[in-house]
C-alpha cells in the first residue's frame, strides 16, 4: 500500500499486512472502552482468553501489553470505542486477534504515526509502532472524521 499514490488517500488510509479475513472464529468477546479502568479490564480479558490457547507467559504479556496500548489510544484520542478479542484458526495455526475500533477523529498521517516518536499527546509516541513489533500481524485503517480500526494478530508457535 503506497498511501502517497492512492487516489483515495484523502478519504481513507490503510497500512499494514492485509491478511485474509477467512480465519475461523473459535471464540470472541468485546470489551467496551470508555475510561482507564476499561483498559485494565480489556488486557486482563485478553490474557485470559489467549491463555486458553496455550501461549507462553511471555507471549501473554506481549498480548496484554498490546491490548493496553490500543485501548489507551481509544481513551486518549477517541474518548470511546471497543476492543474485540477473538481466538481464531487459519489453516493449522491458532492465534488471537485484537481489534481496536473507534469512531474518533481518525489518524491524519498513519505513516508518520507508525514511524514512532510521533505523538500528538504528551507521550512517547511508541504505542502504535510498539504494538506492530509485539504482534505477528498488524493492520490499521483510519478515516478522518470517521474513526480508526487497528487489527493485530498473534499466532501460537
Amino acid at each position: 500500500m503506497d498511501g502517497e499514490r492512492d487516489p483515495l488517500d484523502a478519504l481513507a488510509q490503510t497500512e499494514g499486512s492485509m491478511s485474509s479475513g477467512k480465519d475461523r472464529v473459535l471464540e470472541e468477546v468485546a470489551v467496551q472502552i470508555h475510561s482507564d479502568t476499561d483498559i485494565v479490564a480489556a488486557r486482563q480479558k485478553g490474557r485470559l482468553l489467549a491463555a486458553s490457547l496455550g501461549f507462553s507467559s511471555s507471549e501473554l504479556t506481549l498480548i496484554a501489553t498490546a491490548i493496553s496500548e490500543l485501548a489507551r489510544n481509544i481513551v486518549l484520542y477517541a474518548k470511546q470505542g471497543e476492543i474485540v478479542l477473538r481466538l481464531c484458526e487459519r489453516g493449522d495455526r491458532r492465534g488471537v486477534m485484537v481489534r481496536a475500533r473507534d469512531q474518533g477523529p481518525g489518524i491524519p498521517d498513519i505513516r508518520r504515526a507508525l514511524q514512532g516518536g510521533f505523538s500528538t499527546s504528551r507521550s512517547l509516541g511508541l504505542g502504535l509502532p510498539g504494538v506492530r513489533r509485539l504482534m505477528d500481524e498488524f493492520e490499521i485503517e483510519s478515516r478522518i472524521g470517521y474513526g480508526t480500526t487497528v487489527t493485530a494478530r498473534k499466532w501460537r508457535r
Binding site: 482507564d36 507467559s57 511471555s58 504479556t61 489507551r72 512517547l124 511508541l126
Partner: protein
C-alpha cells in the same frame, strides 16, 4: 485501587498491584512526591513485582516519578520487573533510561543505602 505507601525508616515503599489503572498510577506519583517532602524520606522504592503489564504509559509515569523525586532531593529505584515484562518492554523499545532498577526489595534497599553512603553529583544528597 489506591497503591498503599509504607514508610520504612528513611524510605518509602510502594507495592503496585496487578490491576493498576492510569489514574491509580498518577495518584501514586503525586502521593509519593508529596510524602517525600512531608516525611523527609531519602529514598523511594516502587515494587512492580505484581504488575501484569508495563506499557508506555506506566513506563513514562515511573520515569516522571523518578525525576520529580530526584528534583526534590531523594532517589527512586524500581524493583521487581519480571522477566516477561522486561522482554516486552525491550520489544516495545521502552528503556527506563535514567531510572535505577534493582532485582527486588532487598536489593532496592541496598541500592538506596549505598547511594546515601557514597554521594556523587547525581546521587541523593541526603544520605549521611
Amino acid at each position: 485501587m489506591e497503591v498503599p505507601i509504607l514508610k520504612q525508616g528513611p524510605y518509602l515503599i510502594a507495592s503496585i498491584q496487578s490491576a493498576l489503572s492510569d489514574a491509580d498510577l498518577v495518584q501514586l506519583r503525586d502521593a509519593l512526591v508529596e510524602q517525600v517532602g512531608r516525611l523527609r524520606s531519602r529514598g523511594v522504592i516502587v515494587d512492580v513485582t505484581a504488575l501484569d503489564v508495563m506499557d508506555s504509559f506506566a513506563t513514562r509515569t515511573l520515569r516522571d516519578i523518578t525525576f520529580m523525586i530526584r528534583l526534590r532531593g531523594a532517589e527512586t529505584v524500581i524493583v521487581g520487573i519480571q522477566p516477561d515484562v522486561a522482554f516486552t518492554m525491550v520489544q516495545l523499545g521502552l528503556k527506563l533510561e535514567g531510572v535505577p532498577t534493582a532485582l527486588d526489595l532487598e536489593e532496592g534497599i541496598a541500592f538506596l543505602r549505598q547511594k546515601a553512603a557514597v554521594p556523587n553529583k547525581e546521587g541523593s544528597p541526603r544520605g549521611r
